[in-house]
Amino acid sequence: MNRDRPGLLARLSENLRPHEPISRGAYLAGIGASVAGIFALWAVLTYGGLVAPLFLPSPSDIVRAAIALIADGSLAEHTWASVTVIVTGWALAVLLAVPLGILMGTLKFVEALLEPVVDFVRYLPVSAMIPLLILYIGIGTAQKVAVIFIGTFFQLILLIADVSASVSRDLLDSAYTLGARRADVLGRVLLPATLPGVMDNLRITMGWAWTYLIVAELVAANRGLGYMILDAGRGLFTDRIFVGLFTIGLLGFLFDMTFKRLHRLLLPWSPRI
């Protein structure tokens, strides 16, 4: 190996030091290799006839199925139905869990009130509650929203409680020594101090909300990406299953990017960005 031009092995080892930053080029090369590798493997398996289309359709099969689903408007309809259910259920959970979580992490008495209930309920599988949900609120959209709500609320409240409990005591104390009263400390110090952590957890629980989609659309659904996937599975339309999966993945990616953007835009002071 000559000195001026390090070999591939040397360059690879250069980029594999624990926790060390690598060049942008090396990072992009990693992304490219990952995506290209998956597509290459996929192409070889499908066009090479190694796997039956029933199990793994080829890229072009999936593009064809996607075009058909886009053309007849059904993909947009399913997507819209799912996004509505998820965003509604998640937003309701956020509206309740963020204030309750902040109080729970701040006031020991509220923690004593909520912790036993939350710790109990968050271990119950959401799917196990479906019979009760049907009994209580029927099989309409409300039931689907409730599934998302239950799936995110009990997790989010604990995450937010943790965020507010970890606000530095000295930060609150310095507000007191500047003349703040208890209400000032809550409103002007504790609340803003939790915002970066709250933003992070909104992003994380939005991801979890999507993972409950199939459970939410299990009962009496006739629209939604979860329903579309279940329905395609019954008819062995594997290509449509993949279209559904890709759509969910893409939406998740877009939601995540939006949250990161919002964090940067709304909280420019945040130490996390």
Partner: protein
Amino acid sequence: MVAENLKLAIRGLCVVFTRRRGGSVTAVENLGLLVRDEEFVSIVGPSGCGKSTLLRIVAGLIRPASGEVLLDGRPVEGPGADRGMVFQSYTLFPWLTVQGNVEFGLRLRGRPAEEREEVARRYLDLVGLRGTESAYPKELSGGMQQRVAIARALANEPAILLMDEPFGALDAQTRSVMQELLLRVWEQTHKTVLFVTHDIEEAILLSDRIYVMTARPGRIKTEVTVALPRPRDVGVMDTTGFIALRQRVHGLIREETLRMLGEEGGLLERGDRL
């Protein structure tokens, strides 16, 4: 001590912490000290002797089991703007700019914008941070953040400034620069300061008087007057007067540390006995 220029008086102070599993620890026992108006007083002592606890009691953040704390003759009942505090940890509000942080106390009291701006400018000038008004804390170095914290506490014009190892988290070079800055700030404002540190040289450099505390339970072991001339700078640290004081205070704290280690058992053998 002359009574009329007395700023802070602490008498018969006892602090007891209850342990989670029951039982209790006496952190501070029958402690008394006095701080005169416009005096810079430091408290030093072995680690765990309760010096920070003492400062938090003066701030009103902790309630003592017994004893009295009088500021300008009035008992301290809770935290208030008349006792500004600078902490060892970085406590600037990260969502406020430097300006917003320095104005925080004035805003709480509903002062008009022009006054807030004028006061913030004055104190940012004092700590040499003119021009950083619109920066967020995360953009500042540790030393700069502590300077803003000092400006923020002073902007409230407290009767006394409490400082709990404010330079303890800084590197040695920055700490030395900050000590000189604090000397200059004190010479210009003559603010009454109660300063807690474990750095003996820092205490001597800055103070008019030093209280040395005993190991837990914390009491005042002795009082050391620093008669070095003012205005001072770091050059004073090479004088024989400074060195003699340093040796004396060092010896006093060492006695306490050894006593504490001895009580913990086994660590002191034969020749190490006091």
